[in-house]
Amino acid sequence: MLINDGIPTAEDLAKVLPSEERLNKGPIAITECFQEIACNPCVAACPHHAISMEPDINATPKVDPDKCIGCRVCVAKCPGLAIFVVDMTQSEGTAAVTFPFEYIPVPEKGQLACGLNRAGEEMGWFPVLRAVSGGKKNLTYMITLEVPKELAMEVRNIKAGGYRDGK
């Protein structure tokens, strides 16, 4: 369980996963933030006012599926590194998963990286679509990985280093 091993359960995830219909329309943010803590930078970060928190700063964030356009701005802003963007429309068989990354070396676009799930288990090698810096002050990178659709809700990180070139 999340509270004693750090791994969110299917039940936890069910609370934040967008509907399949919404997922098939394009990229959307998923806040894997399940505990009521005094924190709210995600709310201010979203230029589209898609993240809300009611009644106060201790509530967990909610993403409005109609307002979120999957722009990824919030991913690097969240201090808990808990926001991911999933795009199920990447291609016929693949999805694009964006996650925050704070290790060196940072992979380059086009390289293959070893994807990890929420338990840190290796899920295979996948191409890096983007590696974008959150800025000089923010210092968090946003990595986008292209994974088979069935792994879109599994892969949430990559192993730092050992990246391979090419396909």
């Binding site: 750090g6 005094a38 700063i57 799930n117 840190g120 288990e121």
Partner: protein, 364 residues
């Protein structure tokens, strides 16, 4: 010679920096003393992004918050900052003694704010004196201030925020983190920190503890074992984990000795993690003119330490008659901010601690 000081702030962490600024912004003259060679307190080594709201700089990294606060202090004409200055004693006649450059200074402040923060706790188990066993704070300082990779293979004890964050920062520094062990049945730190470690492959073992450490002249490994629900080690669950470093993050305890020495009433309050001064709602101790802010009056967070600093600083300004109307408004605003920060489920412990402080105050 005794130097007269209007407002003395002891400790240059987030609480002390914010206290100094609040009092000085209102017009008071402040002397801020820090025993380290750089001000910033715990913030200096916090390379992760902070939580809280915008008012407490959430989303900004701890050391960057520290730099911002220190820049404001340095630019302030009403504040004198003295580093490498350790307060040694506070006496009942109001005299404060300081060690600065091997010299003894004597100060006579009108108002004093103690913001000395906290010290790390240790753990007892066989061979806990082997080289290679450190407090998490020391490891974090080595790594994030000194730029030294502190270990090759580490076991972390404690899944509170400090244990989780320092484990993550060791991963970032290229250290292999074998596991985090926690005696409690649940992870005490923020679950987002736990999940971040877990998806990097670090197991978090709740209801486990260190049975003993071993090594010839230095740490070579630890024996971990599982605990039952009565906190007894379960025979047969021992696990031998080779490592060169064992890192302890088993809690902090307030550094309240100065308040104690000055004659302020202190009480042991478990929820606040130790002996703490009994303060009123303006953070004044039972000694007139002596205030406490930040971890020294109960272990909490940098966000609340900053707000407490502001509260104490403005309360001192009101007491001294500086910019009273505005300062009083700021005092009220800070109180409301603290209530909000502490209102969630994670604030339960601190709320219970504060309720006990209020109860003790009533008993006096």
């Amino acid at each position: 010679m005794i130097r007269d000081v209007e407002v003395l702030v002891i400790g240059g962490g987030p609480a002390g920096l914010c206290a100094a600024k609040a009092a000085a912004d209102s017009g008071a003259h402040v002397l801020l003393l820090e025993r380290d060679d750089t001000p910033g307190g715990q913030l200096v080594k916090q390379t992760h992004k902070f939580f809280g709201s915008e008012r407490q700089f959430a989303g900004t990294r701890g050391f960057q918050i520290g730099e911002m606060l220190v820049d404001e202090i340095n630019a302030h004409e009403n504040i004198e900052l003295m580093t490498d200055a350790t307060v040694l004693g506070m006496y009942e006649d109001g005299i404060v003694t300081v060690l600065k450059d091997e010299k003894h200074l004597k100060l006579r402040p009108v108002k004093t704010i103690i913001a000395t923060g906290a010290a790390e706790k240790f753990l007892t188990f066989p061979n806990n004196d082997l080289p290679g066993i450190y407090g998490a704070g020391a490891v974090q300082t080595l790594m994030n201030v000194g730029g030294v990779k502190p270990a090759d293979k580490v076991v972390m004890v404690g899944a509170g925020n400090i244990g989780l964050i320092v484990s993550y920062q060791m991963l970032q520094a290229g250290v292999e983190v074998e596991c985090v062990v926690e005696a409690l049945p649940n992870i005490g730190g923020f679950l987002v920190h736990a999940s971040k470690l877990r998806r990097a492959g670090v197991p978090i073992l709740t209801r486990w503890t260190v049975k003993e450490a071993y090594g010839n002249g230095k740490l070579e490994g630890v024996i971990l074992c599982q605990l039952d629900d009565k906190w007894q080690q379960i025979p047969g669950t021992e696990k031998d984990v080779p490592c060169d470093t064992l890192c302890l993050a088993v809690g902090l305890t307030p550094l309240a000795e100065l308040a104690w020495q000055a004659g302020a009433r202190c009480e042991y309050i478990r929820e606040l993690s130790g002996h703490v001064p009994i303060c009123d709602e303006n953070l004044m101790t039972t000694v007139e003119g002596l205030y406490c802010a930040g971890d020294v009056s109960g272990i909490e967070e940098a966000s609340s330490a900053m707000v407490e600093g502001r509260l104490a600083g403005y309360a001192v300004a009101v007491a001294l008659g500086y910019d009273v109307e505005n300062a009083q408004k700021e005092v009220d605003a800070a109180k409301a901010e603290l209530v909000e920060l502490r209102s969630g489920p994670m604030g339960g412990k601190i709320r219970a601690g504060i309720a006990k402080v209020e109860q003790k105050r009533g008993e006096a």
